[in-house]
């Protein structure tokens, strides 16, 4: 499967609903500092179910809701996967994650092809297509530096978590 599109609504610096189309092959994303490039990566991690707000550079999940002139109290991201030639299943799959609530408690809701599901169902689907959030499928800004600064013991622990 490959990523066909990512729709981001009121998430971080995406105060305007935005749909990004992706092709197979090699896509390069470029633009000035602070324009929102890494926020696209955060949107990927968010919709694919990351539990930790730190991975998406926020103190609380509530901080992910766009903070601008007008403030709504929810945001959502949808990702659409499309089958590639070698896939058995020929259907598209769409995952949506919505968070609602003001600064305090934030509730996360997941949808798989329009049906409400739990976090585990998303995890199961991702495993079925071989997409792991914690191995190096996602190399975040600064990860290179973290690997360089790691001690020998930390590097072994990293390998243990991947094994």
């Amino acid at each position: 499967m490959y990523v066909e599109s990512l729709e981001i609504d009121n998430f971080k610096s995406f105060g305007v609903k935005t749909k990004i189309l992706f092709d197979q092959g090699f896509t390069v994303i470029s633009g000035p500092n602070g324009s929102g490039k890494s926020n696209i990566g955060d949107a990927f991690l968010f919709v694919l179910g990351t539990r930790s707000s730190k991975t998406v550079r926020a103190d609380r999940l509530g901080d992910l809701i766009h903070n601008g002139k007008t403030r709504r109290n929810s945001c959502s991201v949808s990702i659409k996967f499309s089958p590639s030639e070698k896939d058995q299943i020929k259907e598209k799959v769409e995952i949506t994650r919505i968070i609602e609530g003001v600064n305090g408690d934030v509730k996360s809701t997941y949808y798989l092809n329009g049906n409400r599901v739990r976090h585990n169902d998303i995890e199961e689907f991702l495993q079925s297509i071989g997409l792991l959030l914690d191995s190096y499928g996602f190399v975040l800004q600064g990860d290179i530096n973290r690997i360089i600064e790691m001690s020998g013991i930390e590097r072994r622990k990293l390998l243990e978590s991947i094994a």
Binding site: V16, F26, S30, F138, I148
Partner: protein
Amino acid sequence: KKNELLTLFRKIRENMKVIYRALSGGGEVELLMSDESDPLNTEIHIRASPKGNAFTKLSALSGGEKSLTAMAFIMAVQNIKPSPFYYLDEVDMFLDGSNAERIGSMLKANSSYAQVMMISLKKALLKYADSLIGVTMVDGENTQVFQKKVGEADPF
């Protein structure tokens, strides 16, 4: 568990050698365990010889040489646990033009069997891309996105 770690370690070590040789244009790299008889308590170190002379500890290499070595480690892990798509955020930041081009051409090669998305500020990388996404912020608050398939008119 002990054997799993040892097997993974050996696979990454082999993969890393091949990838580093291509990324550095002929250099050598070593992934070492301080004590292979006790994998669950050992330390794992990296030494490299970017120009083919004496092996140097990771901490004594230059900024760019370190980041190329770290990239070889990451790509070795990616090879062992393949994913349908990869996302890489400014991994070329410490690299000079020719090292950045080598990363670009390797990612282009990888993109024939997995989808690759890379964030980069370097013009040298754009020529390897199949499609480009331009990101900007005009009103100081909202991100705007422009898309272009390579070969179409330039939206930037």
